[in-house]
Structure formats: C-alpha cells, structure tokens
C-alpha cells in the first residue's frame, strides 16, 4: 500500500528541485536547519525573510555554490554530487541569476549568452549565436549585443543575465535577490521579464524583497528566519493570514516602509 502510493507520487509529480533535511553551518552558526523543500515543474517559489535569515544561502545551495553539511539535494530525480563532471552537468540544468548580475566583464553581451551553450553544450557558434539573439530580443536588449556589460544599465545587465541562463534551457532558474542592486526605475523591467518567464511555465525559485511580485506571481511563498523555514503557503494565505509572530512582525515592518 505504502509502496504503491510512493510510485504514484513519483509518476504524478516528480519535483524539479527537492531538498531533504539540508543542514549547513558557517563555523558554529547553524545557517540552514533541517530544510525540506520541494518545487514542482512550473512552480514559482518565492523565498522571503529578514536579512541573515538564510534565504540567499538556501538559494545558493540548490546548485551547490554553497556546500551543505548534511542532507540531500535532488534535481529532477538526480541527487547532487559534491564535485566533478556530474555536478557541472546538473548545474548546467539549473540557471542562476545573481544580485550583482555577474556578467562576464571581458565578453560582449552576445558572447556572454553564447559561452554556456558553446562551452558546456558543445553547440556550434552559429547556432548558439542565432539562439542568443532570439533570447536577447525576448528580454529586450538585442540592440546591445555587441557591447560589453559595463556599457549597459543595471536593468539591462540583469536581463542579459536572465537570457544567459535561458540559453542553457534550464529545468529551473534560481534568482538570488535579482533586483536588490538595481535603481528603482530599473526594477520594473527586470520583474516584467521574470513575470513573463513565470507565465511561460518556467520553474523558478526567487529570493526577493519585492512583495508585490510575490503576491502577483508566486505559486507559493516561503518565509524563512534564523535558518529555518517558518511558513509556507500560497501568497494569499501568507500575506493575509501569517501564522507565526515573526512573519507578522516582518510583514508589518515592510508595510511601514511601503506606505
């Protein structure tokens, strides 16, 4: 009975991303405590919480930019190894967008988007470039293709970073505070691209302070504090009826800023 139920679950909805009992320490600081999280195909999971809550660390452990001390991370049914070729292969299936863009400073915008497909997926330059131009058009920066990153605005750079991730045809994309380093007038253009991605069915994990984005786009909101997941629910549930006092305080302090 239990066995058949398990099989059923796997057939029904094998999660794209799954974290099982993940623990991580920075020295004596227990930054991730027994994290269990599962993200289904097409889901947009938004992680919110005060700074130092471990939300960025959690996001970065998912493609092992941060190592973990115990537990397991499973990407599309495959457990993530510590190192080596297999790790690189799994990383190539999970896109990542950083707070500080991290575009390759010495490469043109076009080369930034093609380097992954050429170096990792071994596509031909011609094919990679054609696809990269499509993606740049999709995020609205195709006219900047021959420039270098420093010549672009922050918002443009972040949209290129999203295109660079998309070029790998990832199973999911992680966003680590993608708008935190942007001037206010550029936040919208990046959030718009992200919203379109979500509508197209991309699986996304987003660490952000943009509560309106969370309200509109998230399929699920996760509230973290002190290295723990304290609450998990639909945006309507979470924003209207936070269960924990920490979440109530957090939402209250944000409301004061937003009004």
């Amino acid at each position: 009975m239990e066995q058949s139920q398990k099989t059923f679950e796997i057939l029904e909805e094998a999660p794209v991303i799954e974290l099982r009992d993940v623990n991580k320490y920075f020295g004596s600081l227990h930054v991730l405590q027994d994290i269990n999280l599962s993200v289904k195909k097409g889901e947009v999971v938004v992680i919110i919480g005060p700074s130092g809550s471990g939300k960025s660390t959690l996001c970065r452990t998912i493609n092992r930019l941060e190592s973990i001390d115990s537990g397991e991370i499973i990407i599309d049914g495959v457990s993530m190894p510590d190192e080596g070729k297999k790790l690189a292969e799994i990383r190539s299936q999970v896109g990542m967008v950083f707070q500080s863009f991290n575009l390759f400073a010495h490469k043109t915008i076009l080369d930034n988007v093609t380097i992954g497909p050429i170096d990792v997926l071994h596509k031909s330059r011609k094919e990679a470039q054609a696809e990269a131009m499509e993606l740049l058009k999709r995020v609205g920066v195709e006219s900047q293709a021959s420039k270098v990153p420093a010549q672009l605005s922050g918002g443009q750079q972040q949209r290129v970073a999203i295109a660079r991730s998309l070029a790998m045809h990832p199973k999911a994309i992680l966003f680590d505070e993608p708008t935190s380093a942007l001037d206010p007038e550029m936040i919208g253009e990046v959030l718009n691209v992200m919203t379109e991605l979500a509508q197209d069915g991309m699986t996304m994990v987003v660490v952000t302070h943009e509560m309106n984005f969370a309200r509109r786009v998230a399929s699920r909101v996760i509230f973290m504090d002190g290295g723990k997941i304290l609450e998990e629910g639909t945006p309507d549930e979470f924003f209207a009826h936070p269960k924990t006092q920490r979440a109530k305080d957090f939402l209250e302090s944000i409301k004061r800023h937003e009004s």
């Binding site: 493609n63 930019l65 070729k85 690189a88 292969e89 799994i90 990383r91 190539s92 299936q93 999970v94 896109g95 990542m96 950083f98 500080s100 991290n102 575009l103 390759f104 400073a105 010495h106 380097i115 992954g116 170096d119 990792v120 270098v148 420093a150 010549q151 970073a161 660079r164 790998m168």
Partner: protein, 272 residues
C-alpha cells in the same frame, strides 16, 4: 572610467585655492631656475674637463657608429623579448602551481617564486656562465643571458599574475560554474583573460626591468647595446659621450614601453 581629467593628484589633493596657486607658481619658477643652474654647472664641468671636445663626439657623425649601436640595440631587443616571453611562461606556471589545490604544487611553486625573487640576476648569470658549463650545459651566449634574466623576473611575474587573478570578482567564477562550466574552462576562459587585463601595466613595468637586466649581457660577451657601447668606448676612449647616448636610447625604449602601457590602459577604460 571617470572624468577625462582625473589624475592621481586630483584624487589625493583637493583643488588648490588662490593662495595655494600662487605658492605653487612661485615654487615652480624657483625650482626651474635651480634646475637650469644645475644643468649649466654640469655642462661647465664637462667643458672644463674636456669632455665636450670634438674628438669625443665626432665619431657619432659616422654611419658605422650608428650601425654598430643599432646592431647592439637589436641584440638588446631580441634578448629582452626572449627573456620577457620566457619569464611570462615560467611565471604563468609558477602562478598556476601557487593557486593549485594540490599542496605539493603550492609548496614547490612558493619555493621557486621566493628563489626567483630573492637571487640577484647577476648570480643567475654567473651560474649559467661559469657553473653550468662545468656540468656539461653549454649554451649559446644568447641563452646564457636570456634564461637567467627570465629566471630572475619569473617570480615577480608569477606574483603579479596571481594578484590579477585574485582581483577578479568571485561572482565571475560563480556565474561560470552555475552555467555548468568545468574548473579549467572557468579559469582559462573567464578568470585569466580578465586577470591579464588588470596586470598589463605591471607586466610592462616588469618588461622594463627585464630590459634593463639585459645590460648584464656584457658578462657573457653577448653583443647587446651595452656591450657594443663598451666596445665603442675602448675604441675611441670616449666614456661619457657613449654612455650618455646609450642611456638616451635606453630611456627612449622604456619610455615607448610605458606609453604602450598607458595607451592600453586608456583603451581599456574607454571600452568599459
């Protein structure tokens, strides 16, 4: 990156006011006068001691003199180029060892780097000139000067390259890793090209040092600018004039090298 007129002075000091400007102007005039007096005194000394006599200078009107110096200059440039290239390669390997994840490679590289930086160039040259032949290692004069000069520069090159690698932001590595790139790819396609750009000015300074070290070529009897100058001196008994001309040539080459460095830096700043 910033305004066109930003210089180190603008960063270090605030813009001078009226009084300060007058003080600077007075200081400039006085020091210029002192400089002129000093130069005149020097010329006077040379004149008095007969160094300005035409016999010390007349041979510079002969084309053979310049051909001879030109040959020396070519030798200097060849040795500097070979030493520079060699030093870069050796430095690159030392740096790769120094940042390797293998402890043994790190220790060996550190020892090599300290050795290279600590031993004077002349000692390396004596080794290849005097000691090495006794062990059956007989090299042409060109390599007897090029290899030691490169050896003594390699450690510094390694450290400069390493500082460049360290200056590349960590996010560049993370972005490359998250695309699924492998360690070597990340280093040689993302990190190292950027590191090189950071260190171009220091590398060219290093090349200037290499070029100056090539003057030791006379020790191994290799015909560089210095060696040929010495030949001229003994032929014409004209110490000051020849050394003066040689110095001017060295200054010119190094000035050109520095200008190249400035041009590259400027070009890069415009590009970003």
């Amino acid at each position: 990156m910033n305004g066109v007129n930003t210089s180190i002075r603008d960063i270090l000091y605030e813009e001078p006011g009226k009084k300060a400007r007058r003080r600077i102007a007075i200081g400039t005039v006085i020091s210029l006068l002192l400089l002129v007096v000093l130069v005149l005194m020097m010329i006077r000394r040379f004149y008095d001691s007969g160094q300005l006599d035409s016999k010390y200078w007349i041979f510079f009107t002969k084309s053979t003199t310049w051909k001879f110096l030109g040959k020396g200059l070519l030798g200097t440039v060849e040795v500097a180029f070979a030493s520079g290239a060699l030093a870069f390669l050796m430095g690159l390997f030392m740096m790769l060892g120094r940042i390797s994840s293998f402890a043994v490679a790190r220790i060996i590289s550190r020892i090599l780097i300290e050795f290279s930086r600590g031993v004077p160039t002349l000692l390396f040259i004596y080794f290849f000139f005097l000691a090495a032949p006794q062990f059956g290692l007989k090299l042409p004069a060109f390599w007897k000067i090029s290899i030691p000069v490169a050896l003594s520069a390699a450690g510094m090159v390694a450290e400069v390259l390493r500082s460049g690698v360290n200056a590349v932001p960590k996010g560049q590595t993370e972005a490359a890793l998250s695309l699924g790139m492998r360690k070597n790819s990340v280093f040689f396609k993302i990190i190292f090209p950027q590191a090189l750009r950071y260190v171009v000015p220091s590398m060219i300074s290093e090349l200037v040092i290499v070029l100056k070290d090539t003057t030791f070529a006379y020790v191994v009897n290799y015909a560089d600018l210095m060696q040929n100058s010495r030949v001229l001196i003994s032929n014409y008994d004209a110490l000051l004039s020849v050394y003066l001309v040689a110095a001017v040539i060295y200054i010119l080459i190094n000035y050109i090298l520095n200008q190249i460095s400035v041009a590259i830096t400027k070009h890069r700043n415009v590009a970003s």
